[in-house]
Symmetry: D2
Subunit: 161 residues, 4 copies
């Protein structure tokens, strides 16, 4: 599909359908500035200022794009937010150079993901050698607990040359 065909097809969309296109456009534009990958930009994941130095908080809006057939946020997307929060915390707080790989993740779903936003609060539970054991709770904007999760991450040391 060339650009003219793309534009012509978008012209046919309803206003509601255009919302998804607009969200993608915004994500693509934001990527240029913040250098983060598409997915986090598309989901609208942003860091929250957090008074507590032991935790790391980020959040995302609940848009139509992430709803499942029951009109609640896909469990996988809520888990993705939690995984991002734990990984982001490690990268930002712990080291500017190293990579962190998720070895496993366990997610308990407590309540349907509904409301305007999901807020993920990550924390380090334990560190031993290169193994980081993390936890992350996700609440909605009304303060309801949506998900509790834990993840085990392996720190990969980048060669420093």
């Amino acid at each position: 599909m060339d650009k003219q065909q793309l534009l012509a097809a978008i012209e046919q969309l309803s206003d509601r359908e255009c919302k998804a296109i607009e969200r993608t456009l915004t994500a693509v534009q934001n990527m240029k500035e913040n250098k983060y990958p598409f997915l986090g930009n598309f989901l609208g994941v942003t860091e929250e200022t957090d008074a507590d130095s032991e935790t790391f908080v980020c959040s995302m809006p609940i848009g139509r794009e992430v709803l499942n057939p029951y009109r609640i946020v896909y469990g996988g997307i809520t888990a993705t937010l939690a995984d991002m929060a734990m990984g982001w915390m490690l990268e930002k707080r712990i080291s500017g150079q190293d990579k962190f790989v998720t070895l496993d993740m366990h997610t308990n779903y407590h309540r349907a993901g509904t409301g305007k936003r999901l807020i993920a609060t990550a924390r380090v539970i334990n560190q031993a050698q290169d193994i980081w054991q993390m936890a992350c709770d996700v609440h909605n904007d009304r303060g309801d607990l949506v998900v509790t999760s834990t993840g085990t991450f392996l720190q990969l040391h980048r060669s420093r040359d």
Copy 2:
């Protein structure tokens, strides 16, 4: 942003950036036909014909849109695919009416999500009352095992009137 502003902004994008817009457009168009939610259409999740009646297989392409900063598929997205496969299997094979809610999910990450496609193979491990215990393995298109996961689902009976 009105439609003219949207079209003008898209006109400025590079061909590579337009790919994400095109993926969104295709998802929006497919939604009208298949009535599935946006996310599965955006990820390009499709059912695979499966010779084995005990399993359910679906797959998704690995596009730029789902890559993390290390250029591999986000763990959360691979988990989302596995969760979709298990839920889809339950809805399709087990009941045409009932809802299935994920109570918890455990994901073991074995290998980076790379290649052209991810293929998820779900199966029922056990059923007791309204509790379904499922498992799902995800391979890439070269046959490497990327993820093994298990999920516990609660069947919610819809009133039949």
Copy 3:
């Protein structure tokens, strides 16, 4: 083996070996009084008074009998203590009649189980219909975090006649 053979064999044991026999004897004697099963009595699991009404605390001594080849408590035993704490809390606090079945349990091991005692602190995370989602942390007597765990329990309603 009849009782005379049993007594004769025990007579041959060293004092240290007799400790395990004594622990078993005490468990068997306690069973008659408290009507709890053998295992909890053998492990010496006892309820702790707990100021916090939101949690339930029980503990067990770290004896030679539960040490693995590395001279630390078997991970499975620490998990057993956590599982007992969560199940005991449900039975005691939530209902005097119903049964609670563990659907799944996830255990993160943070530190070797060493010291004099293990103390398990259970709490309810969420309840929806007959599903109870619990968590339990295990510390040693020096306050070190040994294990964090979560469990999903199904409440089975006993017929009340």
Copy 4:
């Protein structure tokens, strides 16, 4: 309690109560020969010959000593058996020198642990660097699936001097 008091107390026990004492005695005697810790000997965990070189099988009898108040095997004990099987497989097959520490374990309970024996079949799912991702299924002697579990183990290299 000195040995005479111990023997006198055991003399008072019923035949059924003596069974637990006898099991302990056997465990203590076996420890001297096989050098394994008490718990595995007490539970009666033994290796099974296994035709399949990709798996490792061990089993234990279901005795009164491991039953919970509902007269089924404690979930924690079944998990202990699975954890032992995975750890034992690693120690025996992979290395004669190194230690393996459980980082986390996930257990799905499918069916009550009943019957005469529990049989645990462990396998390696993946190995990357010092991380071993294992799985273990536990069946009863009638072939029913009781538990599926996965564990993540860290290999600790012993200095070889």
